[in-house]
Symmetry: C2
DNA sequence: TTGAAAGCGCTAACAG
DNA sequence: CTGTTAGCGCTTTCAA
């Protein structure tokens, strides 16, 4: 494209004011009307192949790029969704958000990321921003110990999905992992391996997930005809230290310690594992361990590697994307869907193939 | 606001077609011209307090929300930036992205999140999306072992910043942690504590960070008049297993093992720590350990807790936001800025206060 | 102080 | 097959 400055006035003009070329520029240079150019570029309407080619060529040469802002204004679809996270659990939201973004990108939907940090004021401001940008849908994410107040009312008109978070409002859609089922999976696995004295070391009682997993634990024990042993269910913190403490209390000087530990997350499991090793108790020979989260760095770094429950966060994110697209398309969905967890067997439970 | 359906036709009309009210609706209902309404809402132009109040009141009642799309179209500023990440290091990008989003939100700039997963094709598609949406700036992030090709040429016209990633192109701006300085900090700390046989266990040689930290390690030793001991610099993987292996090789049957380990990340450090404990070697009494990344779950879960180098990723993200805003404002910046790392002392180095 | 009107860049009828 | 035109929702001169 060796053109002198005045032979293609429009182009040079565009260059001069450093502005992105518009469809006008393309039309002028291709010597067609602006409407024709639009048809060519959007590949609709009836047009001679020749004209179409010419327009497309000019557009390419000019580096023309349709202005989505203008398009959205017209179509009243922004091809944009917002995602509101609370950072407290970055490690959980990331895979979800990633998978969601991925799924949405397939439909050429872009994602606005907003982090509210559990601050209602910030949340409010972000929401204003997003609504101002005319997002087509909203995803709210981040596990919290309490159910979160619904924001449906505020965003009335566009679909909202809660992921890894549960709204109070019954006619919104929430997508969460099946905590109870996951716990059952873990405990059934241990029972199948012949363990009979299974303790559950978990997080603070005010987390709903803690309650649900407790229920799963009890259910699995009950189904196998095993009684829950007093003191074998322990609330604590989500940390390695908490796991170590629990082991100290359960094993030091106890007549009949557990022969298996089902832990509320991998950090607790890891702490427990270390504490057992310090005491010369063999894992999995004497005590089998199953964690929760299947967090690779924790799980593969441990010795022996940890058997754990995977919440399939990516699947959760993908599913959320899928549903959001459907809802944007007009479908209506409500309620709480619990997606299955998966058991990933490694050496710590002694159940590896 | 108890109005019968026909008393406020505009509003009910808006409700009926479920459309967000526009400035027209506000103007009509407030019985002013659309231009006047605009002035009132944007608080510019001269206007009687009375009219302004009336417009604002109507807007509030109607739930009016300015359409940023239309505003942007007019102002040719979208108040929007894109961020392009490569997921390989989710754990690193997250704090950066978070801080960046935070800083930008202060200026009411929203962030489009795109994940390219190191796939040039996806990257290209995302870039097209972003440019179509007329982003005012772009941040590219994610550590890679190799320098990344510049995308400046492609996005010509809007400012680009590389964070935690370094562009080949010399006239773009890159923000990275000062790996060399961080390493120096770690080694100086160990030297100050009287250690003389300091080994460096790190990641694969093809990472630039590995080379830089090696340089910092050597520099600190040299400055203290300590010779580098053959075999004490070890490339490996970024994993706990790698740390354990290194300890096996350095300590088992060696006449003169290290008295300190500076590790390329916290996982290596943690593996080394565990391996030492298995051998009955006391940390920090016999061997002091310093990690890198200051990754809380790793660092606080370890026993004893790990002294580590913090790359201040949040600061990096904030700084990136700051600079991007400046660049959007017209400032021009190029080159590679290295932001300082920080030493965080805990028990594993024996240097706690 | 307020209103009217010309666009921002694009699409979709509707004419020609 | 192609051109003209009326907006999408908003801001900003320029008149009144």
């Amino acid at each position: 494209m060796a053109a002198s400055d005045d032979s293609i006035p429009v182009e040079s003009a565009a260059r001069q004011r450093e502005a992105t070329p518009t469809i006008r520029d393309v039309a002028r240079l291709a010597e067609v009307s602006i409407g024709t150019a639009s048809k060519a570029l959007n590949d609709n309407g009836r047009l001679s192949a020749e004209t179409r080619q010419k327009v497309l060529r000019v557009a390419r040469e000019l580096g023309y790029r349709p202005n989505h802002l203008a398009q959205s204004l017209h179509r009243s679809k922004s091809m944009t969704v917002g995602i509101l996270t609370n950072d407290s659990f970055g490690r959980f939201s990331f895979p979800i958000v990633e998978a969601l973004e991925d799924r949405l990108a397939d439909q050429r939907i872009a994602v606005f990321m907003c982090n509210a940090t559990d601050d209602p004021e910030r949340e409010r401001r972000h929401l204003d921003q997003l609504l101002g940008k005319r997002i087509d849908g909203l995803v709210v994410t981040a596990r919290r110990s309490d159910k979160r107040g619904s924001i449906e009312a505020y965003v009335r008109g566009i679909p909202v999905i809660y992921v890894f978070a549960q709204a109070e409002d019954a006619d919104s859609l929430s997508l969460v992992p099946d905590d109870e089922g996951g716990a059952r999976l873990a405990v059934e696995h241990l029972i199948k391996l012949g363990r009979k004295r299974i303790a559950h070391l978990t997080g603070p009682a005010h987390f709903e997930a803690v309650a649900l997993r407790h229920r799963g634990y009890s259910a699995a024990l009950g189904a196998a005809g095993l009684a829950e042993i007093p003191g074998f269910f322990r609330n604590g913190r989500w940390s390695e230290a908490s796991g170590r403490e629990a082991v100290a209390e359960l094993f030091d000087g106890a007549a009949a310690p557990p022969d298996a530990l089902f832990c509320g997350n991998d950090m607790i499991a890891r702490g427990a594992l270390d504490a057992l090793r310090d005491r010369g108790i063999k894992v999995p020979e004497q005590v089998a361990i199953v964690g929760f989260d299947n967090w690779d760095v924790m799980v593969t770094g441990a010795q022996p590697p940890l058997t754990s429950i995977d919440m399939n966060l990516k699947a959760l994110g993908r599913e959320a994307g899928e549903r959001l697209i459907a809802m944007i398309g007009g479908e209506r969905m409500t309620g709480v869907r619990r997606l299955p967890c998966t058991l990933v067997v490694r050496q710590s439970s002694g159940g590896a193939a």
